[in-house]
Subunit: 322 residues, 2 copies
Amino acid sequence: MAVYTEVGDDDLQTFLAGYDLGRLLSYKGIAEGVENSNYVVQTERGSYILTLYEKRVRPADLPFFLGLMDHLAAKGFPCPTPIHDRNGNALNPLAGKPAAIVSFLNGVWPRRIRLTHTAQLGEAMARMHIAGASFPGQRANDLGLAQWRPLFELIAERCDSVVDGLAYLVAAELDALEAHWPQSLPTGVIHADLFPDNVFFIGDSFSGVIDYYFACTDAYAYELAICLNAWCFEPDTSFNITKARGMFAGYQKLRRLGTAELAALTWLARGAAMRFLLTRLYDWFNHPEGARVTRKDPREYLAKLRFHQGLASAAAYGLDVD
Amino acid sequence: MAVYTEVGDDDLQTFLAGYDLGRLLSYKGIAEGVENSNYVVQTERGSYILTLYEKRVRPADLPFFLGLMDHLAAKGFPCPTPIHDRNGNALNPLAGKPAAIVSFLNGVWPRRIRLTHTAQLGEAMARMHIAGASFPGQRANDLGLAQWRPLFELIAERCDSVVDGLAYLVAAELDALEAHWPQSLPTGVIHADLFPDNVFFIGDSFSGVIDYYFACTDAYAYELAICLNAWCFEPDTSFNITKARGMFAGYQKLRRLGTAELAALTWLARGAAMRFLLTRLYDWFNHPEGARVTRKDPREYLAKLRFHQGLASAAAYGLDVD
């Protein structure tokens, strides 16, 4: 959580003068977002989020992310809507960074996950996949299978300092994933980072999804696998099959999983665990001195990986598999 | 800028259930406030600021601060208004800290000070002094003259590492301040930390004052001295007499300074410079590892102190003195 770039009031007034948002009433840097700098902005028209894109986001990807939000919002999916300036641009420079202003999405992310959350998450995910199916943009997943081994090689020598034998375990699992990774599953736009802090609820009701800056074109079922890991394990890393069953049931109300997707699910879940294990390990070893971001424990994802490794089929997730 | 205490959504819902604010719609930690943790909270009733008081604020002082905000708001002075729960309490525990929720005050603090800002600041300051005059609370200034020497003694040995000869200069100035410190000036509630980041404007118009957590009972003219230092020097530490003249003129539209106040002003300005020189030196030497707060350069206040030391009278501030 951080504000990396301080925005001056004169600079912000100049930036906003290009938009039809009325006078600036207030802006405050918010302690959210690991990747970018974010401000809550109030104008005469209402509340907005201003984002300055920092160096971890490639400028070339920004039209995809903002176009996706435009598309999902137009389809009625609750997400922040990019505000366009009078020339139609959703991206403009501010304080030397590319910046966008989006509508403020009400909601609170759940710290303690209950069954109602995973059930509504599943349904919302299916809505998002269906709404995104007609989006023409394409973006490869740059944290997908092909990137895991190069990422591992950057940190392999240090893995055993976290857990003894970890380097061997990861290398062997990468071999297995490369041999068994499912091909030809139904594919489209996925969020790819659908953790609880990106999913909002008002009271007990789903209200929207934020933070599309990992969105990419990948297998829909891989999104479910990411969420299985992020939402359906308890803080002690035990698997909660009731929450998983609720998530899949919610999803399948709107989009049924095919036989190939069901068959692939344990491998997708292993891959999803590997992706977050590797990035958390990388961040663990490359944590800047005095950083304003809390390191996340990579061992959480090692435990999840091991759980999926022991499974014979997606029946263990509470799914009907023939 | 920091959020020291993370607030869970369930805890916040429980806290808010005691207030008539409707449902929680969102809350976001804001990167503001060196002393406390602050959140922007949206409920069905509107926008608010939630503050959790951290260890640098004495709980015994909180009723004074919140009572002062209640009083000023009731007198029509634009400041955050404490929200009282259904039992009439403005303070309640949250996440193990005393916490208060106050109305959201629109406005933006000016990064680049112009003449219009100091003129309006002066008038607003006088309004605040007049509105606060009927406030019955009393609180001694715990960063006043009596505290400067003990504070200096904590850091005296390290002062010369910042500027050669600084320890001698501060010791000699403390002698002079103790010998000449004005007594019996008109006294009442002052804000005591009226820096630009606590004074809001919408466009070019003053909109309010925030952050009353240094407020205390002290000489009104000492507040002007603090603002002389905080608002009327340029970034290169040159004094801008036009801004000072504007500030005093704005103030005297509503409250005329007496002869004793005018005569005391250079000593008050030296004292005000000493107070911030000492606390900045202390913070410079006691900056926590990996702190999320930027250190402020104490030498800025040394330059201001030296400027005032060279003056014969408040005429140098653009004031008519007989």
